[in-house]
Amino acid sequence: MTETINGRTTLTTPFTEEDIRALRTGDVIYISGDIVTGRDDVHIRAVSEGMDLPAEIRGKALMHAGPIVTGSAEDGYSLVAIGPTTSMRMEKLEYDFIKKTGVRLIIGKGGMGKRTAEACREFGAVHCVLPAGNAVFTALCTEEITDAGWLDLGMAEAFWSIRVRELGPLIVSIDSSGKNLFEEKKKEYASRKEEQLQKISKRLETIL
């Protein structure tokens, strides 16, 4: 479901394919509902080792994140700090992860590559950037840890299920047409880099 809350475009889980396909790169959105965390080891288990995820995530959101959590299964968990990690690490396995799980929205840091963009186009998903390093701000957008899976992987790599409320701002970096904001930015930066290098190389030659 997509609605406008306090002037913000807010999507609530389960996301429909229509909700997701309406998003375009550069859009700023917020989400409410159920997300899970999964990074390197979760992808390896789910894709390379073919294991079933501890919980169903079809139509939900995956956050590339390793939170700081206190508490225990018996006494309940509290989420101290959470923020996105480098998404590109998961590029190798993300196509198959999206295909297998039906996840609709991926939250991370920095961009992802061609294969993820292909999966977004084929299966109707998006990748979004959540400004990173803001772990307390982001923790305060969460309501509750609802489940903990694969704790043997350690706190950072475990599969945490979390209920969130107006989590954001999320900036759409890959949309379901396969458009990729960071790939465009990289070209722009690379061309400016060449201009700058040309500008300083003469000075570096003469000064040093």
């Binding site: 101290v80 480098t86 840091k109 992987l153 000064i207």
Partner: protein, 301 residues
């Protein structure tokens, strides 16, 4: 105080200091971020800076780590040869990391290679990392702390250039990394460049460069000029906060060097994310201390 009491006290202060640096950014970084925010023209980039400052405020208010990736803990130690706890310091810092991990809390990040097991307390083989420097005939001890996060450690890179590549080669080496791998590394970044004869000396110097304040300059005028040239050039690329574009790209560029071999230019680059958790604390022989990075830090008052 007995040696045992002194040892416990230093462990407690260091654990508290490490925890404090996970929650509060160093004063020079906060001030540099304020400058970058105030000079930012792009409204989207400005709103990201506003979020960063709100996060810093919330972290301080709630006493929680400002970033969930509290890194691997590293120490650069400049220890006087007559500092009373020189023999115990390695154990003290090891215990301080375990204590800070439990009490702050820090995220356990240390994984033993081959066993592939997270040790759960941020210590392990060679962790925390200690970079020692013994100061002859001195009884104080100066300790730099650094929480090396994964995101900004990932783009670290080193190689040995040929003299014909020159300083233009060094500039290209640094900037190629910035416009590719660094978009993910939480810019605006502090860039540490090491120049030396071989790969490991350059790499270590690039990390030492990150321990210098943002806005400081290498005492060598030519090195300082290269810092400025690189800083201006990288800023002109306009990477902005989170790599999404903006008026600037970096918190600064710091270069450290040692004499190189006549036939080589070893060069390395290390990066510090915007939430650059660096601390510096100096102890006298009675364990009185001062810190020039965190004016707000107190212990036992």
């Amino acid at each position: 105080m007995t040696v045992e009491e002194k040892k416990n006290r230093l462990t407690d202060i260091m654990a508290a200091f490490i925890g404090y640096t996970a929650v509060h950014l160093p004063d020079d970084i906060v001030s540099k971020l304020e400058d970058l925010r105030d000079a930012e023209d792009d409204p989207a980039a400005r709103s990201i800076y506003d979020m960063m400052f709100e996060n810093m405020r919330l972290a301080s208010q709630l006493g929680r780590p400002s970033c969930q990736d509290t890194g691997l803990v590293q120490f650069k130690i400049e220890c006087g040869s007559r500092f009373p706890l020189i023999h115990q310091l390695k154990d003290i810092l090891h215990d301080a990391v375990i204590k800070a991990t439990a009490e702050t809390p820090l995220r356990p990040n240390a994984v033993e290679p081959f066993d592939e097991i997270n040790t759960g307390n941020n210590t392990g083989t060679g962790a925390p990392a200690l970079f020692w420097d013994i100061v002859p005939d001195d009884e104080s001890c100066s300790i730099y702390t650094y929480l090396a996060g994964g995101g900004c450690s990932l783009p670290g890179h080193a190689m040995v250039l040929m003299p014909g590549d020159g300083y233009e080669g060094v500039a290209r080496f640094v900037m190629d990394r910035i416009t590719s791998y660094c978009l993910n590394a939480c810019p605006p970044l502090l860039v540490g460049v090491g120049i030396a004869g071989s790969i490991e000396t350059a790499a270590l110097l690039s990390k030492h460069a990150l321990l210098r304040p943002a806005g400081s300059h290498n005492p060598n005028k030519k090195a300082a000029e290269m810092e400025k040239l690189l800083e201006d050039s990288i800023n002109a690329v306009g990477i902005g906060p989170q790599g999404l574009g903006g008026s600037s790209s970096v918190l600064g560029v710091n270069i450290e060097y040692s004499a190189r071999h006549t036939a080589t230019i070893g060069v390395a680059v290390s990066f510090g994310c915007w939430t650059h958790r660096r601390g510096h604390i100096t102890f006298d022989s009675d364990l009185g201390f001062i810190t020039d990075t965190h004016a707000g830090f107190t212990y036992g008052l």
